[in-house]
């Protein structure tokens, strides 16, 4: 198992004892959130997205695909002991900086040198180089998004009311299957219209190409055991078809 895929259900973590309502724990976190979102807005994969973005007219040197999957793969691939050492946006900062180094946009040395500079002079300004056309694309992306909905696929394998079991695929770099649901029995409560394409193939995990997505309900007692679960509790998850198999296959 990969621990990050199994967060749901971990015990002995202590109380969610302080209700921290702030979005950003430090001012610098806003900047890495912003950088990530701009990268999503100028990602080359958007030329195939549902909204027709005029990507070829956006002046940028960014020539890669960057989606939620990129960020998630980074976090899910961290050594678990490392994963828990870092706060949410610290992980983003590590993953995104490493991406730009790995893809040759910046060198580790220039990043280290400039980091030292800003450490010594925290108020020294950023370069002044606005890019109005990119800014427009960022605003367009935020207003129109990047749905995975594609043409309706043909055969729907399951119907509302069907009993299904969750598969137990090989642990891969990335998944959209919450670990605590593996091998559990559930009931289809909704078949979402159309078919969806996830940002990337997850290989042996099973996401690849167009798939139907289902809302599936699970009794808490079926997941955690009748003696170990709270009463009268149902968990719903949205699951890609690859993660489901019919009850009679068990």
């Amino acid at each position: 198992m990969r621990l990050q895929h199994y967060l749901g259900g971990l015990e002995n973590l202590g109380p969610v004892n302080f209700f921290e309502k702030k979005v950003f724990m430090a001012e610098w976190e806003k900047r890495i959130f912003g950088i990530h979102t701009v990268m999503m807005a100028e990602s080359v994969h958007l030329d195939k997205s549902l909204p027709k973005y005029p990507l070829s007219e956006v002046p940028t040197t960014f020539k890669d695909t960057w989606t939620w999957a990129s960020l998630r793969i980074g976090a899910e691939n961290m050594q678990p002991f490392e994963y828990f050492k870092y706060r949410y946006y610290e992980k983003w900062l590590m993953g995104i900086s490493q991406f730009f180094i790995d893809r040759g946009y910046v060198t580790a040395k220039e990043l280290a040198t400039l980091t030292e500079h800003y450490r010594a002079h925290p108020d020294s300004p950023l370069p002044e180089q606005p890019n109005p056309a990119l800014k427009e694309q960022v605003v367009r992306y935020l207003h129109h998004g990047d749905s995975g909905l594609r043409a309706p696929a043909d055969l729907v394998r399951f119907a509302v009311g069907d009993t299904v079991y969750v598969t137990d695929p090989e642990a891969a770099d990335h998944t959209r299957l919450p670990g605590f649901l593996r091998n559990k029995k559930g009931t289809v409560t909704e078949v979402y219209p159309g078919a969806f394409e996830y940002f990337v193939s997850t290989g042996p995990d099973g996401l690849d190409g167009l798939q139907h997505v289902y809302c599936v309900s699970f009794l808490a007692s079926d997941i955690w055991g009748p003696d170990k679960s709270e009463p009268n509790t149902v968990i719903y998850a949205d699951l890609f078809e690859a993660y489901l198999k019919p009850a009679h296959s068990m």
Binding site: L10, V16, F84, V106, L114, N131, V139, L149, Y192
Partner: protein, 233 residues
């Protein structure tokens, strides 16, 4: 917040310097403009904010037919209100679920931090914290009690794990003693936490149970204070 995630100044200063260096390099190399990151942040201060969700909830409270449409086809019902950007990033496929006398809903994302951006803005820290993500599906009632919400055993708890394209949000129950409040005043009572199901919308305090304009203004001021959570200071 757990003190586990409150760091010393040195660690924060190191991250602040690194992110500034990264942004500076990306501007120089043409990956970003110097106005790009600010454009993102402005969107969450002006367009995608929990004010939208609060107004949607208030409309559902005062108009039962609207509420039915919202539950039946959430994007279509939201579109009626003509707020900008409502099908934008992380809101391409939103769905509302309603709390009632028999059901309490809790929204979670155990794999990451999926959240309905257009109607709720960005997720607060507690939503992203591994402790909430771990315990929310295993012992939602215990977690809710820690948040000050006790759900009687006879009331069903539904936990929605956002693991594919749908971004869920909750229509909380309208509080008692709020009959005299108008839609705008009702919206001022609704918090992001209530729309994620970890809080209830409290009744207006006794001193505010009368249509007294000065006191209502105070409710609105409190709502403004909540909106400042976007700031870190």
């Amino acid at each position: 917040m757990s003190s586990l995630f409150k760091y010393d100044k040195d660690r924060e200063a190191a991250s602040a310097a690194k992110v500034r260096a990264l942004e500076a390099l990306l501007i120089k190399k043409g990956v970003l403009g110097s106005d790009s990151v600010d454009a993102v942040l402005r969107h969450f201060e002006t367009v995608a904010s929990p004010f939208n969700g609060a107004r949607i909830v208030a409309r559902a409270w005062v108009d039962a037919e609207y509420k039915a449409r919202l539950l039946e086809d959430t994007p279509k019902a939201i579109a009626e209100l003509q707020f900008p950007g409502m099908t934008g990033a992380e809101g391409e496929h939103m769905k509302a679920v309603a709390n009632s006398a028999t059901v309490h809903n809790l929204i979670i994302c155990t794999l990451c931090s999926c959240y309905s951006w257009p109607v709720l803005g960005l997720p607060p820290y507690w939503y992203k914290d591994p402790v909430f993500r771990s315990r929310g599906v295993r012992e939602p009632r215990a977690v809710l009690r820690e948040f000050g919400v006790t759900i009687p055993e006879g009331k069903e708890v539904k936990v929605w794990d956002s693991s594919a394209q749908i971004r869920w949000f909750v229509i909380p129950e309208r509080p008692a003693h709020s009959e005299h409040l108008n839609e705008e005043q009702l919206a001022a009572l609704v918090t992001p936490e209530a729309m994620m199901g970890v809080a209830l919308v409290p009744s207006p305090p006794p001193c505010l149970r009368h249509p007294n304009v000065y006191l209502i203004r105070r409710i609105c001021r409190d709502a403004d204070a909540r909106a400042t959570r976007f700031a870190t200071a």
